[in-house]
Amino acid sequence: MDHEVSPSPAPPRAVKRLQTAQLRLAAVALMTMMLGTVLDVFFRYAFNKPLRISYDLVESMLVIYVFHGVSSVFLARRNIVIDVIDSLVSPRILRGLAVIADIVSVMCLLLFLWGMYEPAMQAYQYGDRKIELGVPLYVLWGFALAGLLGTLVCAIAAFFHITLRQLRRQP
């Protein structure tokens, strides 16, 4: 078991900024999840008045956390891969496999983007909301789609600026 090939060339500045912004958004979502839950527990046991929104808050923040935090995984090429083949084939073949892995990853991200578009539009048309928090579900779908789009940009950047460069550079 291993993580993907470690990066050597840095990604373009704009992509790095996008990933940093997404990382910060995910960090805010994580802190909100934590503090919201702690406040709920505190009010429940101290004043017998739980925060009724805490359940919805956690679910909503988790959407933002996952879809925006995941771009760091792709840009840092941290996805888990099984490395039993490493000792069996030449480095040249391994670099070729890294290209295939990146293409498959980008394809899968596109697939999710495609698959999420229709339910996101339906959420917009029906206008459903989170019961306690009152946030329209399409807002959360919007955050999810935006996060996924950012992740796709990071995955493509990792492919062009890391994998392909490594492939060209090394004999």
């Binding site: 527990v41 888990i80 295939i100 495609w114 339910p119």
Partner: protein, 434 residues
């Protein structure tokens, strides 16, 4: 082509994709999506892909993952493990192999808060290995104790693998945490017995150390109070029914941050680093969970697990024989599959089979975690062994391999105990939750 054959081909394709270094999440997604496409059409498969990604990312039960990972990262960066090891070291001073036993005890306790084997092994190696070397311990015993102790982290609650298992098997997280406690304690004790046995059989591996005074021991007990407080609040809170797992994780993470700042063990920079690492670590798991959900839907449609069960019945295989075959399959897979990936790939296939043969899914979860633990420490590819070598590059990997071999007997004994006494895993959840 029957759905069962399509399922078998799907599993074969998945193994091929994993073998050629396709990331675990992408391999699961690709096979799951293609399979769903074949069985229920493109539109239905696309809709499933979109909604399952969103549903997994907004599941309240899974929010426990980032919060416990954050708790573990903050605890690791606040040097709580050093206090723990110091307390265990002084309490066990004078005992033959005391430092190795202290390492296992401290690793188990740290793993109980941290929930990650790799983080526990890495952290404890940095703290305990120099102490053991200074005391003249043989590298084989020292690294064996570190690798074994580190692996307990995924069994003793909170365990991220158990949360993931709960989400796939639709089980209650608190019940699984309760089920893991006794086997976790027993495994820790078994590892300690192995360490003591090695120290007695090979006295030069573990020179006897000077006994600390009663006052020193008493004083040492107060050292890890922050850790004890965190453990009581988080895990105690879940068992007592005061907190849900998510609440316990949030309170624990918040508490560790407050204690870190109050004790001046945590700075803003370290906190940010902890948050950053938690985001990467947990999002990495979430993409795999999303892929596994697709794969799992595909497996359900193919009824491949039912086909396996029918095949086993047709061959007149008894329930214990089937379970032994499953355990052996896990141990073999552990040679090349990563723990969480292995759970996500295999549970949708094996669980229906296990349930059909009359075993409890909660009991099976503990068995799965133990075999994943074995995978973490068995040569030649146990992840914990590489983590230890990365922290101590001057220790030869062959020494680490030799050191871990006697410790492998402990989880194997525990597996036998679980088969003989299933109540080891089932008694506490029944007592607490009925």
């Amino acid at each position: 082509m029957s759905p069962g054959i399509i399922g078998a081909l799907g599993i074969l394709s998945l193994l091929i994709l994993l073998f050629i270094r396709i990331p675990v999440w992408a391999a699961l997604t690709l096979v799951g999506f293609t399979g769903n496409c074949i069985l229920s059409g493109l539109h239905s498969a696309l809709s499933l892909a979109g909604t399952s990604a969103f549903d997994a990312s907004s599941a309240y039960t899974l929010s426990v993952i980032p919060l416990f990972v954050l708790l573990g990262e903050v605890a690791s960066n606040s040097r709580l493990s050093a206090d723990l090891f110091n307390a265990a070291r002084l309490l066990l001073s004078g005992v033959r192999g005391g430092l190795a036993i202290a390492t296992i005890a401290a690793s188990a306790c740290f793993g109980a808060v941290c929930g990650s084997s790799i983080v526990t092994a890495a952290t404890m190696t940095r703290i305990a290995l120099p102490e053991m070397r200074k005391a003249g311990y043989d590298d084989r015993l020292a690294t064996g104790a570190l690798a074994a102790g580190g692996s307990i982290g995924i069994l003793i609650p909170p365990s991220i693998i158990l949360v993931i298992y709960a989400s796939i098997a639709e089980q209650s997280v608190p019940k699984l945490f309760a089920a893991a406690l006794l086997p976790g304690i027993l495994l820790t004790a078994l590892y300690m017995v192995v360490a003591t046995g090695i120290a007695i059989a090979y006295p030069h591996y573990a020179p006897r150390m000077e006994k600390a005074s009663a006052r020193e021991r008493w004083k040492a007990l107060a050292g890890p109070w922050q850790f004890i407080l965190l453990f009581i609040v988080t895990i105690g809170g879940i068992y007592a029914g005061i907190f849900s797992p998510t609440e316990a994780a949030a309170v624990g993470a918040f508490g560790s941050i407050v204690l870190g700042f109050l004790g001046r063990r945590l700075s803003w920079a370290t906190l940010w680093r902890s948050i950053e690492t938690s985001i990467t670590t947990s999002c990495l798991l979430f993409v795999i969970i999303i892929g596994a959900n697709l794969f799992s839907s595909f497996m359900v449609q193919t009824q491949f697990p039912t086909m396996l069960a029918d095949g086993a019945s047709a061959m007149n295989l008894s329930a214990p024989v089937v379970m032994i075959m499953i355990v052996l399959a896990y141990i073999v897979m552990g040679c090349f599959l990563e723990g969480i990936g292995m759970v996500l790939i295999t549970v949708p296939v094996f669980l229906p089979l296990v349930v059909k043969f009359g075993y409890d899914p909660i009991w099976f979860s503990i068995l799965v975690v133990i075999v994943v633990e074995v995978g973490l420490i068995h040569p030649p590819v146990g992840m914990n062994l590489f983590v230890i070598q990365a922290q101590a590059p001057d220790v030869r990997i062959t020494s680490i391999y030799r050191g871990i071999v006697p410790f492998l007997i402990a989880p194997l004994i525990l597996i036998v105990f679980l088969f003989l006494f299933p109540s080891l895993a089932l008694w506490l959840p029944k007592l607490l939750y009925g």
